[in-house]
């Protein structure tokens, strides 16, 4: 069996007493678009820098295409990176920036020029070839940075929050450019970001990191709908988390929380024993809302507090009788049909199948 392109085998990185990455196991296959996601300081950038050879792992082994990379210097790895700051060389023009990697590999000036021009054209910036990088707009600089990294035709491209400096509408456009490029080239992209929308929009698989460890790995859909840990449930999407003790462990698990009894579908994981403490998640967009009690299962009486209006989707913030907050996400037009005033009493409920039981920590 051939090994995946990239293997992190029990890799740790310590800075003195600070543990940046701890016992990381991660495999990345050829042609995959992988996003590593987490809040700042979670170890995602350190992971990327270790793969590029800019940080040395304290423990463990990193293999690229089956070869141990720990002792290979950064300049001898073919793992070009697109930097958050872009790190374009300010004293070189666009063409020379793009040619840099080829020059370091000892290619002739004519070969360099030809290849650089190909990539400039591919990224629609051929007319900028002789411009100073200082005169470019954010989006143009982004394309130069991409061309500079891809010109050596690597099998893997590392991206460290490359879009964080762009305006929102430009981010969406560049996401399209990146996703298309990755499909066309068929090479591996490893994309580090703190932005859920960027990660979900482009990647085949998402790795969620926290405190130097992987919390969950899966497709964007899996991570979004089936969070495996409380951290993921809080970090991804807009989730409501409830806790309680198991009262009945049949096919539907009945949980006794301070807000009342709730039912949850039994997942295929071993069901928690009666009396144990569990948490479950209801995604904010899967909550139904009405002005009158409907008598359905899992119903709660809440008071409307405030709403956050961002275009077509509205997030309502409500508070239950015992002071727990509930977030509810609805289409704006659905909400406008209801007569909701500050302080209105609402009844919220959710489908049995939409309550997702978090695995208990053992």
């Amino acid at each position: 069996m051939t090994e995946p392109l990239v293997v992190f085998d029990n890799v740790s990185k310590h800075y003195g007493d600070v543990v940046a990455v701890s016992n990381l196991h991660l495999t990345i296959s050829e042609g995959e678009f992988l996003a590593i996601m987490g809040s700042s300081g979670c170890g995602k950038t350190t992971t990327l820098r270790m793969l590029a050879g800019l940080e040395e792992p304290t423990n463990g082994e990193i293999r690229l295409d089956g070869t141990r990379m720990n002792e290979v210097s950064a300049s001898e790895r073919d793992t070009p990176m697109v930097w958050q700051s872009l790190a374009l060389f300010p004293f070189l023009n666009v063409q020379k920036n793009v040619e840099f990697g080829l020059k370091m590999r000892g290619q002739s000036p004519t070969a360099r020029r030809e290849k650089a021009n190909q990539w400039l054209e591919r990224l629609d910036i051929a007319e900028l070839a002789n411009r100073d990088v200082r005169q470019l707009s954010g989006g143009q600089r982004q394309r130069v940075a991409l061309a500079r990294s891809l010109v050596t035709e690597p099998r893997i491209l590392l991206l460290d929050e490359p879009l964080s400096a762009l305006d929102a509408n430009l981010v969406v456009r560049m996401q399209g450019v990146l996703a298309r490029l990755q499909k066309e080239l068929g090479i591996t992209f490893i994309y580090v970001t703190h932005s859920q929308s960027e990660a979900f929009a482009m990647s085949d698989r998402v790795v969620i990191m926290n405190n130097g460890q992987i919390e969950q790995t899966g497709t964007p859909r899996e991570v979004y709908r089936n969070p495996e840990t409380r951290f993921v449930a809080e970090f991804v999407g807009s989730n409501n988390i409830l806790s309680g003790t198991v009262k009945d462990g049949g096919d539907t698990i009945v949980i006794d929380s301070q807000l009342g009894l709730f039912s949850c579908n039994k997942t295929n994981k071993p069901s928690p024993p009666v009396g144990s403490h569990v948490s479950f998640v209801i995604s904010a967009d899967l909550i139904n809302i009405s002005m009158h009690p409907t008598g359905s299962l899992n119903e709660l009486k809440c008071q409307f507090i405030s709403e956050e209006f961002i275009g077509s989707v509205v997030t309502l913030l409500t508070e239950s009788e015992h002071g727990s907050e509930f977030k509810i996400q609805k289409q704006q037009r659905e909400i406008s049909e209801l007569d909701i005033q500050p302080g209105s009493t609402l009844y919220i409920n959710w489908d049995l199948a939409h309550a997702h039981l978090l695995p208990t920590i053992t």
Partner: protein, 276 residues
């Protein structure tokens, strides 16, 4: 409104006064270097280049200018090199005792020149190295390297910390990254450090006087002429020295400001973005 105007006027006048205070003696010396009278007094005599002709025909002065030129050029090269190495070490590495290293590297200019000259003479004569041109060069390098380091360090503080890593990442070895990225980025500071150290060395008197022996530099010969007789050729030499070092210093400033400022425009944008 008017209050502000008065304040502004006052401040302008104040700045002018400072400049007059600093430059008047030099301008006086410059004016008298073209004056025919033996002693500097008013009213002025007639215009003459006689004093310049005198020094041009004086082989001692020619020799002194030669020594000074060799010394300041060598000092500029050596101390810019050492200054760059020190500044880069500071930029790139973190190690124990770094603050002590930095304090030592920046220490020499704080030592009184007479003490420094005396100490240099004591050391160099003990190891049989005094009284030669290279004795002056060695002493001046000690004195000038910190200036070079300070200028280059300032430049390195502006670099995008990812820039060098980006070069490695694209296949540049450490030496090539230094050559292709760090040096071009620092170029304005390096040229400016070169001019600055050349100027400092060219002007320096006390240390030169102690260690130069028979190889007199220009400031040393000025004192010698002064001790013999006061005549306006001193003004002429002084004017030449002033113009030489002023040119170097102004050049250093201009190169640093123009080159560095357009590159800073970009790094400025980047650092702002990272802050967001």
């Amino acid at each position: 409104m008017t209050k502000e105007r008065i304040l502004r006027l006052f401040l302008h006048l104040y700045v002018c006064a400072v400049f007059v205070f600093v430059f008047l003696p030099i301008i006086t010396s410059f004016v008298f270097s073209f004056n025919s009278d033996r002693f500097p007094s008013l009213p002025l005599g007639h215009f003459t280049t006689h004093w310049y002709q005198t020094i041009f025909n004086d082989s001692d002065i020619w020799e002194a200018f030669g020594v000074s030129a060799i010394v300041s050029a060598s000092v500029a090269v050596l101390s810019t090199f050492i200054g760059f190495c020190t500044a880069y070490t500071d930029y790139r590495f973190n190690f124990r005792g770094k603050s002590i290293y930095l304090a030592l590297a920046l220490l020499p200019p704080t030592i009184p020149l007479v003490i420094m000259g005396l100490a240099m003479l004591a050391l160099l004569s003990r190891i049989n190295m005094s009284g030669e041109i290279y004795s002056i060069i060695v002493s001046h390098v000690v004195l000038c390297s910190p200036f070079a380091m300070a200028v280059i360090r300032m430049r390195l503080a502006q670099i995008d910390p990812d820039l060098e890593s980006a070069a490695w990442n694209l296949g540049a070895s450490e030496w090539r990254a230094m050559h292709q990225v760090i040096l071009p980025f620092c170029a304005p500071a390096i040229v400016s450090a070169f001019c600055l150290t050349a100027a400092v060395s060219f002007d320096e008197f006390a240390v030169s006087w102690f260690v130069s022996g028979l190889n007199k530099t220009v400031p040393v010969i000025i004192l010698e002429i002064l001790q013999g007789n006061t005549d306006p050729q001193i003004n002429a030499i002084g004017s030449i020295v002033f113009i030489t070092s002023m040119t170097l210093v102004v050049l250093a400033q201009i190169i640093y400001m123009t080159k560095a400022s357009d590159q800073r425009a970009l790094t400025g944008v980047i650092t702002r973005r990272q802050d967001q």
